[in-house]
């Protein structure tokens, strides 16, 4: 029951994180998106002159970081009803970058400027998926192994550990983001990042411990033991460090932390399922305990290699 509540809270937080992503273009152009590899599709809010819309010289397209380089257009093809146009480029576009399209002469003398980028929502989601599966912290980044092997013997332990870990991870990553962006960077104190991040992690753990003890003693009884283990887990310090390295913004950090925690939970759950089965298997005495666990983890790691190159958005 408590698990469902936690899930609900994280779902609400997720939705809140996505709201700013739902902002669209303005004026003449109602919708813009990337099409095939070398296409940009524009949708107009009103019908336009087809002959004008097909004129390549009415469009100028640049990448936001390189405003001096105009991308060469091969053709502009208006759609049948005249309220949209597809721009074809000579070279494939780098869809990871934001493109700026300037449209002129289509509605009087007014120039319309719109930015075309992949949906931000999709980008955030790709960070989540990447941390969860493609770059799973346990199986492809090899972090947090001590705790991973220690707590993956039984499913209930695995679940408890995973959930507590995700919560602490998200909270500490958010705090680290604030500290990093508002204290460390402005005062040029980047070299203190390790101390600050590990300090924040300990602080979060202590805070969660105290709050949980007071607010929900039952939950504390079942989950409290895992809190201590969280500090000894390198994933929890790796996430803020990655955030600092990649200069992520708040939403990206949130998704990274959520993905990392979720990935850890997934890894623990998978491993514990196998461990429970292994208790009934005949294992050679030399392989009992950790060695066989390592071999199983290796097989999982190979399976997770299959996710590499996965692209959804």
């Amino acid at each position: 029951m408590n698990l469902t509540r936690i899930r609900l809270v994280s779902l609400v937080a997720l939705v809140c994180a996505f709201i700013p992503a739902l902002v669209h273009g303005q004026g003449l152009i109602s919708k813009q998106s990337f099409g095939e590899k070398n296409e940009i599709i524009l949708k107009f809010s009103a019908e336009v002159n087809k002959a004008q819309a097909a004129n390549v010289s009415n469009y100028s397209v640049i990448e936001e970081q390189d405003p001096d380089i105009r991308l060469e257009l091969a053709s502009a093809v208006p759609n049948y009803s005249g309220d949209g146009v597809t721009l074809h480029f000579k070279q494939p576009l780098n869809t990871a970058k934001t493109h700026v399209v300037t449209v002129s002469n289509l509605s009087g003398d007014v120039k319309t400027v719109v930015k075309v980028s992949k949906p931000y929502l999709g980008y955030l989601f790709s960070i989540l998926i990447s941390a969860l599966l493609i770059n799973n912290f346990v199986f492809t980044k090899y972090l947090g192994l001590c705790v991973f092997f220690g707590t993956s013997k039984r499913k209930t332990t695995a679940k408890g550990m995973g959930v507590v870990f995700t919560l602490v991870m998200v909270a500490s990553a958010m705090m680290s983001w604030f500290f990093f962006n508002f204290i460390l960077i402005p005062y040029n104190l980047n070299f203190l990042e390790i101390v600050v991040f590990i300090g924040l992690v300990s602080l979060t753990v202590q805070a969660v411990d105290t709050i949980l003890r007071k607010v929900n003693p039952i939950l504390f009884n079942s989950f409290g033991v895992y809190l201590v283990l969280v500090i000894a887990n390198c994933v929890i310090i790796a996430v803020p460090l990655m955030m600092a390295n990649n200069k992520f913004n708040l939403f990206e950090t949130f998704m990274l932390a959520l993905g990392a925690g979720g990935g850890f939970l997934l890894a623990l759950y998978l491993m514990s399922s196998v461990s429970e089965r292994m208790q009934f298997a005949k294992i050679p005495p030399t392989f009992k305990g950790l060695p066989i666990a390592f071999i199983v983890a290796g097989q999982f790691a190979m399976a997770f290699l299959g996710f590499s190159g996965l692209q959804i958005f």
Binding site: P67, D68, I69, R70, N135, F191, L192, V195, S308
Partner: protein, 298 residues
């Protein structure tokens, strides 16, 4: 209560002590770090140009750096280049601002020494002083080095950074004056060992050497086994007809690394994009310098 106060005092003291130790080491190492980075960069640059480590570089060879900035003012965006100007004894620096169509807006002399121009912080400060109020210049993280021998251009060195399979890949490229590739060095990457990390091996990165600008525009990646003779020729194993083999594969597509097609493709596309952008910009800059009769040492 007394307990808490002692704890707080002691913790504060130990924090201060720790910060002191870290601060000392930071001051001690930051200079060496900068110096070593600089030495490393130079080593990569000279080896790309074909000068062996340790062998003296001829005195006639000179390197000039051009830095690109994005200038923002109320009218919109424009592009600024910090270029060394003048020839012989009278050398200085100028900040050349071009509009987005490649026309000169203005040229401003910048008072900065060569050493200060190489440092990001002092360079930014000097440019800010030269521009005055109302305009803001942001370094676009784009530095090009123009190599001259006896005053004639022999090569360009440029650095590029693009997304790889896991994290970003930083490369340094040496180009001939006709934008054909002279050399490629992988400076930084985080690809998987045994798979994507092979991009830094000679048999992959040397495939780019000799590709002309025209070939590069349509360069593709193929998933075919790399011919043995070609691999050996690229690794520098002395054979009878190494040069001939290299010549034979000069316009061939890039052979993808086994099990690392995404990394191979990332490097190929990254190199293509970097060279294309550079060629576009240097042509514009050269035109402006010529039209405006700005004397430059390169």
């Amino acid at each position: 209560m007394k307990n808490i106060i002692t704890i707080i005092i002691r913790l504060t003291l130990s924090c201060l002590l720790a910060a002191f130790v870290m601060g000392i080491f930071f001051v001690m190492t930051s200079k060496a770090k900068k110096h070593n980075e600089h030495v490393n960069e130079e080593k990569v640059m000279y080896s790309l140009l074909g000068y062996k480590v340790g062998a003296p570089v001829p005195e006639t060879v000179k390197l000039y750096a051009v830095y690109r900035y994005i200038v923002t003012d109320p009218a919109g965006k424009s592009i600024g280049y910090l270029v060394p100007t003048g020839q012989g004894a009278e050398t200085g620096f100028s900040f050349i601002i071009l509009d987005l169509d490649g026309k000169l807006i203005e040229q401003k002399p910048v008072t900065v020494t060569a050493d200060d121009a190489a440092e990001a912080e002092s360079r930014d400060k000097a440019i800010k002083a030269a521009l005055g109020a109302g305009k803001e210049a942001v370094y676009a993280d784009d530095k090009t080095i123009i190599v001259t021998d006896n005053g004639a251009r022999t090569a360009y060195l440029l650095s590029g950074k693009f997304a790889g399979f896991k994290a970003s890949i930083s490369v340094m490229l040496a180009l001939k004056t006709d934008f054909g590739i002279r050399g490629l060095a992988i400076v930084e990457h985080e690809e998987d060992p045994g798979l994507g990390a092979e991009i830094e091996k000679g048999y992959f990165k040397n495939q780019f050497i000799g590709k002309s600008f025209a070939t590069l525009k349509t360069l593709d990646v193929v998933k075919e086994p790399l011919p043995d003779a070609y691999a050996k020729a690229m690794e520098g194993v002395k054979g009878e007809d190494g040069g001939k083999i290299l010549e034979q594969y000069k316009d061939h597509a890039i052979y993808a690394l086994t099990g690392a097609t995404i990394s191979s493709r990332a490097v190929t596309n990254g190199v293509k994009g970097t060279v294309a952008k550079f060629a576009y910009r240097i042509n514009i800059l050269d035109n402006v310098l010529k039209e405006q009769h700005i004397v430059v040492p390169f």
